[in-house]
Every structure is written in structure tokens, then in C-alpha cells.
Amino acid sequence: METETMASNGKVMAGEKPMKYFYYPGCSLKSTGRAYEESLLEVFKALDVDLQEIDDWNCCGATAYMAVDDMKASALAARNLALAEMQSNGDGAQIIAPCSACYLVLLKAQKAIKEKKEKANVLLEAMKNNGLYYTGKAKVRHPLDVLVNDIGLEKIAARTQKPLKGMRIASYYGCQFVRPYSTFDEPYNPQTMDMLMAALGADIVDWPLKTRCCGGTLTGTIEAIGQRLSYILLKEAEKRGADVVATACPLCQFNLECYQDSMNRTFEDNLNLPVAYFTQLMGLAFGISEKTLGFERLFVPLKTKAAV
């Protein structure tokens, strides 16, 4: 695994005072990905980890905008970084960005400010004119990274009340959080979600499609291609006996789950495979109620028979 220059992802070192985590929801977690937010907040609360939503956060700059106007997209992302840093009183905030697209764009801005001097000058100057500053102290983290590397699997296993025994989970990571930057996991064969699910007592489905494209925004533009890509993933997971696909990305969740009816028509199939956020499954194992965890929002209900 290539350790990118961003390896200094601000892990809590032994002896250091516990860091505060800032929470950057992004648009999805407030709309289509509500279940992700609901379960995420519950899970962190259950682990006694304090999440503080960044005050006055704005659009992350989104991956699609990045392709249109890189500088403006970075500026949007940088504002969020600056807000977190300022709200932490320069304390070195850790920003948890659960949506893969937000995570990547924020990382990109963080990296650009650190390494691309000219771009950094423009961004920092623009922020200065608006009374904002970012010194690089606030760092972007993925919730999986924080859960596995800061909090630790032991603590998570200890908190588990209703182990996901007998539930076969296919962990699906999507493309964005290990590529192009592999800050905490293996780019070709990521492990953290599998390790987490195993710690909750679930059976792990070994499948090679962990990071293959879900179709991304193609589902909205060239639907036939987008859906085909999603279908390939679901079919393989089903074939390998998965009870549920665990995801860490609102767009992946949306693509894989909401179009199953349409896929069934196109491919003359009979897919009915639940696709849940990994935080929902965690919450389940922690014994939190399904309603609180947003399970009612799923189009394909999770057959929890095997689970609890």
C-alpha cells in the first residue's frame, strides 16, 4: 500500500489529550442519506464520542463541481476546513466527513493547500478577505478510520450487545475513499469495514468487487450504463450469499438500493438485496432501535431474522 504524504492523518497518539471531532454532514446526510446521519450520530453517541457539527458549513465543492471549476470547488471545501479550525480555537480539529464525495473533496483541498503553493496562496488569500484562516491543523477523517484506528475494534466489540451472528455482510467501499489517496486503507483491497463488521460478530463475504464503480452519477445521466454497473455488484453479492450489502457512501447506497426494481425489469431478475449503511449495522449490534437508526427509510427492508 502506498502511504500518501497525508499519512499524518492526525491519529490520536498515546498520551495526547483526546481530540474533539467535528462533524461535516454535507448535503446528502441531510437529505437522501438521512439514515446515514441518524445512525452515525447514534453510534458515536453510544461510544461516548462527542461530535460537534461544524457551524455554518457549506457545500463541500462536490466531485462533479471539481471537474468544472477546480479552484471554486476547492474554495468551497477550504471554507469548511477553515470553519472547523477556527471553531476548534486552533486546537487541531478532526473533521469527520462520512460522505465519500465530501471526504475526497475536503481531502483534496487539504492536500492542495499543503502541497500546491500557488493554489494555496489564492485560496488562503480569498479566505483572509472573508476573515477566515486555515493553517492545516484541521484534518479530514473518514468515520471508518476514526472508528477502527482511534476508538479501536476492541472497544466496539465490547459495546456490542446483539452480535450480528449469522448475518452475511458484503462490505462495499466504493471508489472514493481509497482512491486516489489511501490515507488509512489498502487501495485495492480495503479492510477496515470488514474488520469492523467482523468485530460486530457478522460473517464476512469475501468478494473482489469492494471498490468497483457503483455507476456514480451515470445513473442520473446515462442510466443504462450506471444501472448495469450497480447490477453487477448486487448480483455478485447475492451470488456469494450476502444478506446485506454494507456501504459507506450515500450515492452508492442510493444507486444500489433504489433502482433494484428497475434493474429487475431490465435484466429480468428478481433482486431484493438490502443495502444498509455500515453505521446502521453497527447500531443494530449495539442494540439501538431500528427506528432510531433510520431502517424505516430503506426501500429494501433488512431481513433481520438472522441477526437479532
Binding site: 502506498e2 489498502e186 485495492y188 483491497n189 468478494w207 473482489p208 468487487l209 453487477i232 455478485e236
Partner: protein, 668 residues
Amino acid sequence: MSTHQYKNNGDAPRIGVYICHCGMNIASKLNVAELAEYGKILPNVAVSRDYKFMCSDPGQEMIQKDIQEFNLNRIVVASCSPLLHEKTFRQAAADGGLNPFYFQMANIREHVSWVTKDFKEATDKAKALVSAAVRRVAQHQALEKKRVPVHSDVVIVGGGIAGIHAALTIANSGRKVYLIERQPTIGGHMAMFDKTFPTLDCAACILTPKMSAVKNHPNITLWSYSDVTKVEGFTGNFKVKIKRKPRYVIEEHCVGCLLCVDACVFKEPKFDDEFNLGMSKRKPIYLPFPQATPLTVLIDPETCLQLKRGKCKQTCAEVCERRAINFEQKEEEIEVDCGAVILSTGFKPFDAKRVPEYGYGHYNNVYSSLEVERMVNASGPSQGEVVLKDGSKPKSVGIIHCVGSRHAKTNKYCSRVCCMYSLKLAHLVKERTGAEIYNFYIDMRTPGKGYEEFFDKLLKEDVNFIRGRVAEVTNWAMTAKEEGKLIIRVEDTLIGSPRRIPVDMVILSVGLEAQADADEVRRMFGISCSKDGWFTERHPKLAPVSTMTDGIFLAGACQGPKDIPDTVAQAGAAAAEALALVDKGFVELEPDTAFIKEELCCGCRTCIGMCPYSAISPNLEKGVAVVNEALCKGCGTCVAACPSGAASQNLFTDEQIFEEIEGVLTYA
């Protein structure tokens, strides 16, 4: 040279200046005639000329004649780099009767004509350099080269085919050789191969006779299962410390009858066999492989009950009539003197787990090439049968080239042997199984003698060749036909399309890497490594087996990926170089070494820590530093570091350097 009496042409400098045209190299880019004229007006110059080729015989004779005629006692030649011809002109001065160090060279080719476009600027710069050389040479002193006797034995580190060949070459010439091998047996990687490309000779058949020749040679002392721990000294006079690891079997007593192995309390082999890469099992007492040299068993302290827990029936010791087994054996340390060292420490195969997308260690039936070498070997874990984990024969096999090579993420360099061994494995696997074989390559690189013909032969054997770097190996079946297979996904760059190739077995043609401890070895022997970890030769073309440390030579893959013919050729070359050194009986030391002016030295030891060659030591009685001329390389670090100006260097004294600077600054 020390006995030579040079003529004394008076104390006052009388300098001859010679401007070389180097054909058109210099003459077309600056005004050589003007430069020669300019030479005449410089202080102490008795004669100044220009000539077409100063390095030619007439050029050199001109210098010698002028020394007689003009009573010259200093010579300046303005020409090419001193790296090329400093020796030539020093010799010309010596042949003319002068001490050869009354000479200075001005580089007006590499430093002027090759890099300066403007004619006048070039002429001016050349004038400045000639002025500097003339001022400097007036300060030169007569120096003498010293001779140091050379020890005639040679130490060779690493007993693969390179070390074996070098050892035999030197031993056959009558010199004594110590061959040190880390493993319990010599033979290296070549001993693990089945056949060698492109002739398909049986590797063992050509290697094992050489292995026994090493063992039986009266001039070779073979120490296997031993490590070099320390090296001291300098060219011609090294002291090498060797640690002999305990085998718990007395080598002189053991005849390799293997009764002890049969008698071991472990009825069945139980532990991973290193020689077969863990694909078969061995007992705690074992012989690495049937042709091991020396043919001496050894006991692995990690798995032997007696050595681990002190509790065993010791049936092995009981059964040995020659009383060879000795559980009390301890590590031994030996020191030997030698005149030269050959390093032939080889390579390690790239670990395919570092390319996780190819599924090595994840999927059954994904093998590394070395594992398949063992598999196709008749004395290997499957007696030469190529079989899948379930025992059946593969019907289709994919061979992926360039695993770990030619990639920014792993190693950027081409590992040079993988194309050819992939072809060889394709042939052997097809011969044994009749399977459909797919070779996935980026380029085919078959540049050796008979190699391209071997490639042609494979093309005619109905092996498939697909050009493109494989993206991944998975067990993701999309159709019923693919079910249960390993799927190779690749962009076929010749048809311009992605493909999925289902196969039963995948062979990863891993590249070659420097040994994990290459950096420690490099430090121990005072040589250097390239950024990839391979030992660096002194010059890639003109000194390919020498290193920057005199007396240390390289052979085989420790210098970079190499096939067997190249390794053997290079081992022969290293042996010849080592012989040339030890046979001469002495080494001449360049006199441009550092020395300490004792009256100025305050004994602060700054220089001792700075010296990269460990050439300076303290004289405790006098409280001053002392330079060992034999070790000093004349780098000048101590001279620059010395706070009291006590350290000085022949040919680079303060006076000489200041005069040179003055010369550049004051040219008119």
C-alpha cells in the same frame, strides 16, 4: 617509482604550457593560438605552445623534448578532463625526467569548449583556467607513491552460482579462497530451478558438479551457514570476521547418511521446508536438498525438541555412529586476512503480496514463479507434477509478467530475467500438463544469445501471448463458464479491448529485488548502493565489477538483475580483477592523501568523526590525530573540518588552492 631519481631543473619554477586542440573539439570553439600566446606572458612560463593532439605520441614527446631543451621543472596541459588523461601526462612528465606531480591539467574541453557557445567568452574562460593552472603548478611539490604489500587470499561472500564460479576460477589459479555462505548449503537460487533458459539444460546437472568441485578443491575453504560480521583494513590487507552459526552437527564427522533424519522422534516431516518455499515439510533435523553442499545435515533450533525444551530421547544422536551430533555446539567466530573481497550476495524475489490485486496469498492456485520452479522440479514438493491445490492438473494457466517490475508503485526497473523464465515456465508447464497457457506481457524482452529463438519456439508451441498489463485476478465469475476459475482481467492492447480470461492457475512472474540487508552489507564493506538497493559498480561500462572501495569486487545479481550466463561471465571478471590485485603482490597508493601537522593539532578529534573512510585515529601519547595513508582517499573532508588548520592534503595545500583562485581572478 620510489627508487626513481628525478632530475632537478633548479628550484625556481620553469613552466611549460601546452594547449591541446583535441582535433576540432577545442580548436573550433576557442582561439587556441591566442591562448598559447597568452600562456607566454604568465609568470614563470618558459615555453607555451598549442598542438593538435597533446595525448598522442608526438604530443607527449614534445613535452619530454621541451623539458630537456628549456630545462622545464613544471608542466601545464590545457586539454580534456583529468579523469581521461591526467595519468598520461603525468607519465609523460616522468618519462621526461620530472617528478610526475609537477604537473597540472586545465580542463578546457568539458569545462569550456563543450559548454560555451560564444567564441570570445570561451577563449577568455580558457585563459582564466590556464592562468590558474600556471599559478598553482608553481606551488607543486615532488610526491612519491607508496607501495603496500598485498595478502594473496581472497574472501568471497555468497555461494550462489556467482560465488561458486568466482571461487573456482581463483582457486584454479592457485590462490586460496574463503567462500562464505549464509544458508546451510551453497547453490543459491540456481539450485532451486528446474531447467535453465534458453537451452533447457537441467539446472542441477550443470550446477551440482561445480558445487562438489568447490567442496573438494584444496584451495577453497567453504564455510556455509556463516555470516560476515565485520570487515577492517584496506585494499590488499582486509581482515574479515566470520560468524559460524551452530548446525548442532559436527561438519567434519557427518557424511550425510541421513540415518539421523530417519531416527528423529518426529516420525513424519512436520515443519515448512525452506528450500521448497513451504510447499513441503521437513523434520527438525534435515538436509536442505539431496545435492546440498556441504552434504551435512543440520538441526533447526526452533523446532528441535532437545534444543527448544531440553527434553528429547535424542534418537538422532544415538543412531549416529560417527558421533556427529552435538547439541552443545556454540556459535564460533573466525577472522581471516585477505587481499581482496568479492561480493556475490545475490537477490531476493519480489514479494507478490505487495501487489494485492493479483490475489497472491488470497486465492488458492495463485503461485509465484519460484514456487512453480520448485513444482516442476523432479526433486520438488510434487515430484515435478504441476498440480492445483486440490491435486488435479490445471487445464489453463495464466502467466503474468512484470509483477513488481516496471511500475512506479513497486520497482521501476525491468527485472531482466522474467520474460525468459516466463517463457521457460510456459514451455515446462505445457509439457507437463498440456494446459492452455496465456502469457500476459507488456513487452517481450529477449535480448540474449539464443533468447529470441526461444521466444519463436514458444510461439510455435501454441502458447497464447496477450499484450497488456493485467489489472486484477479475482474469482468473480460472470458466466457459468467462468465459475470456479480465477478470472484475469486485462486490457489487450493489440486488439484494443478489455478481456476476461478464466484460468485454473495463475503464475506471477515476480521481479528481482536487492537483498533485504543490502544496506547493512554495503556499510560493512564501505561501498554504495543505487536507490533501488543494488550495489553500485565503480563505472557501468569501464569498471563493471569494481567498487568505489579498492579491493572490493562485485559479481552476479547483487549488482542488479542478471541471468545465469551474465552472472557467470561477471563472476569470471570479478575473479580476474581480484587476481590481478593479489597476484601483483603490492598496491601503489595515490599520494594525494591528507596529513596532520602535529605542531598545529590540538587533538580535538573533529576530523576523526568526519572521515568517511575511518582513516584517521588518535595518537594518545602525543594527543594528536594521525592519518593512515593507506586508507585515506584524499576526499579533503578532514582538511575542511579541522578548526586549527592542522589537517592538510598533498596536491591540495592551502597555498596551491589560493594560488589557483588568484590565477582565475587575476587573468588579464
